[in-house]
């Protein structure tokens, strides 16, 4: 506990993201989600519940808005006055966007949410005091708070389900914030394996739970630093650059035909998730 120690910490963990002073050296985990492939089946959400020990809060709490789904499928409806079921539902899987300049990180009084060297937005549960400022400042509202002591609430994991809880993931207690981690437990295991063998994690070697469960392969995940990874290729192909608050392709006259975009790019949070716009009937 000294001032020099504080400054040292500051240097290591508080960068103006994304900048050149400390570019991502080995890994920058990123995602891309093809909305044209997404059928809204919710398999990713279920996989996330299973992988990350998310409490199943039940109907009442869900209706009260206290659900804990780190990954949610949002429904949007075409506004051309057609009735259900021809209404033209569109789906958007939404989870923590792991922003490079995350609005949640700067406002936490305890410093419980930080940026890792791999470009993840991490949440330190043990450090969280539950001021909920991070959620208040999150433009995507993808942070979920433990409104109750879920590990001890009897209905969140019925007895027959406890066998499927993931031992690699901690169970969060009452009063802390949690959110999508990009399945950091899988990333760490893959990195450790690779380090033992003296190499870097190969593309496709690690999958997030949602990606693994997706029946249409709408989700790709990987290392953006490695140019040959699927994600990096997709980003490059769509001409979406991580460190821009507006893409060059959108600035050209008439826009571009490319489908890649990031949500709320103009807020300058630099999200790590790229979405591929759905191909609309009207556009064909």
């Amino acid at each position: 506990m000294s001032v020099s120690n504080m400054l040292e910490n500051w240097k290591n963990f508080r960068h103006m993201h994304p900048v050149d002073d400390a570019p991502h050296a080995e890994y920058k985990w990123a995602m891309s989600i093809d909305l044209d492939a997404c059928t809204g089946c919710n398999a990713c959400t279920v996989a996330c519940y299973a992988e990350n020990n998310l409490p199943v809060v039940g109907k009442d709490k869900f209706n009260a808005g206290q659900q804990m789904h780190w990954m949610r499928i949002e429904r949007y409806w075409d506004e051309d006055k057609r009735d259900f079921p021809d209404q033209g539902a569109q789906f958007l899987p939404m989870m923590c966007q792991h922003c490079e300049a995350a609005p949640c990180e700067t406002v936490c009084p305890a410093g419980a949410t930080n940026h890792t060297a791999d470009g993840l937005n991490s949440q330190v549960y043990n450090r969280c005091i539950g001021s909920r400022y991070c959620s208040a400042n999150c433009p995507f509202k993808v942070r979920y708070f433990n409104w109750y002591d879920y590990p001890t609430t009897d209905n969140v994991w019925p007895a027959e389900m406890t066998e499927q809880l993931n031992p690699d993931v901690t169970v969060r207690g009452k009063g802390v914030m949690e959110k999508c981690t990009f399945c950091v437990q899988r990333l760490e295991r893959a990195k450790n394996n690779a380090r033992t063998e003296g190499r870097l994690v190969k593309d496709g070697e690690v999958q997030t739970a949602c990606q693994q469960a997706c029946p249409t392969n709408a989700i790709s995940f990987g290392n953006l630093v490695e140019p040959e990874s699927k994600v990096a290729k997709q980003w490059a192909h769509q001409q979406v650059e991580l460190a821009r608050e507006g893409q060059a392709k959108d600035e050209q006259e008439g826009g571009s035909k490319l489908r890649g975009y990031r949500i709320f790019e103009e807020l300058r949070a630099y999200p790590s998730v790229m979405y591929l716009e759905r191909v609309r009937e009207s556009a064909i």
Binding site: M1, S2, N5, M6, N9, R14, K61, A64, G65, Q66, Q67, R72, E74, Y76, M94, P103, T106, V107, C108, P109, A110, G111, A112, R127, C128, I129, G130, S131, R132, Y133, S135, A136, N137, P139, F140, K141, R143, Y144, F145, N146, W147, Y148, D149, K174, G175, V176, M177, F264, L267
Partner: protein, 455 residues
Amino acid sequence: MEKDIREDIAWAKINGDVLKSLETPRPLYWVILLVALAMFGVGLGCEIYQYNIGMGVANLNNPHVWGLYIATFIFWIGMSHSGTLLSAILHLMHADWRKPIYRFAEAMTTFSLMTAGLFVMVHLGRLWQFYYAVPYPNERWTWPNFQSPLLWDAMAIFTYLSSSVIFLYVGMIPDLAIARDNIHSGWRKKLYTLLALGWEGTDRQWRNFRVTYLTVACFLIPLAVSVHSIVASDFAMSQQPGWHVTSFPPYFVAGALYSGCAAIITLFIILRYVFKFEEYMTMPILRKVVRLTFAIAMVWTYLNLIEYASVWYSHDEAAKAVLIQKATGPYAPFWWMMNFCGSVVPLLMMVKRFQTNIPMMFAVSLLLNLGMWLERWMIVSPTFSHGYYPWTWDHFQWPSLVQWGMVFGSFGWFTLLFMVFCKVFPSVSMYEVKEMVYHRSLALKNNELAEKGAH
């Protein structure tokens, strides 16, 4: 022009009247104390329940992660500012009409800050770990996040609270000595003897006292401005539509002075009756406070309109949508009521006849504070129900009875502290009232002499 105070009150009578307030208030005092205790009990019960079960019982959710706790926190912080206005700023400006009423105003500052502090605590999901937000030496070598406006908040409030306590105490030393010399023996005599620090009223003591008092007053004024600017930063520094407003700091400070002045009127009227201070808390002084409140009300109204206008003309679509939603959405009744109470009700204070009408001013001051409380709620909540992200739109989250109970209880807690203070410590500054009487009688005498042609 009526006189702020009679020039012919004997000093012994001042001592007697004020010291009487320490011993025999009207029976209403005990009623107020009992009611306050019961109210605080309700709040305490709610907190015990919430602590054990979890924040969910407050009926907060995603995206409504903040609610009445934060709104009421800002309300109490705001309330504290007028004490400093009266005791420090008007002291520097030599406005001597403040003398009979500044002591209780300063006490109000201290106790409303203590009440505000409670809301920071009950708002935390893990109240038992609150010290993680404080820079304390620890074996993990971790520091809090100095970038967070919430941390600035904690520091600003703690500095302000400790400085106001010092200011309140230092200003009270000569009076504590009077109390020590006049009170019958018992625990109070021991308390006053200890706190009076051996005050004898020598020239040297008075000189040092004046310098100290002035220094602390000068130190306190920038703090008062900064503390609410920093509370405003909690919102203005964030990215959310409806919060990300550059004019928030002055707007918050004006709102703070406003609700504080209204609270001073309320407490003025209560203390005047309960402790029989009619001789000191006179109608002309009430009139001056009312005029001051009216002026601040108009400043607040102006800044409020600026905020609306700057959002309306900014072409920031998200912020504009929040404003439209405030005026037309589920929060509309409260939003319109806030504008009515904050900007229309104070117009009553323009009428000269009303300025000294006690029941009228009592009602008006309560309505003003209702308006200011609603203002804070209307700053905090609507942004959550109509923020950037469409998935979170149009959820109206009505605060649960646990939240309301704690808001209710906080008024009990404040009243309890305040009323106990007024019974234990002289709530009218005896030595300054004497100064006031002395200077006025001197001026009177000089005028008489001047009229006679003598020099």
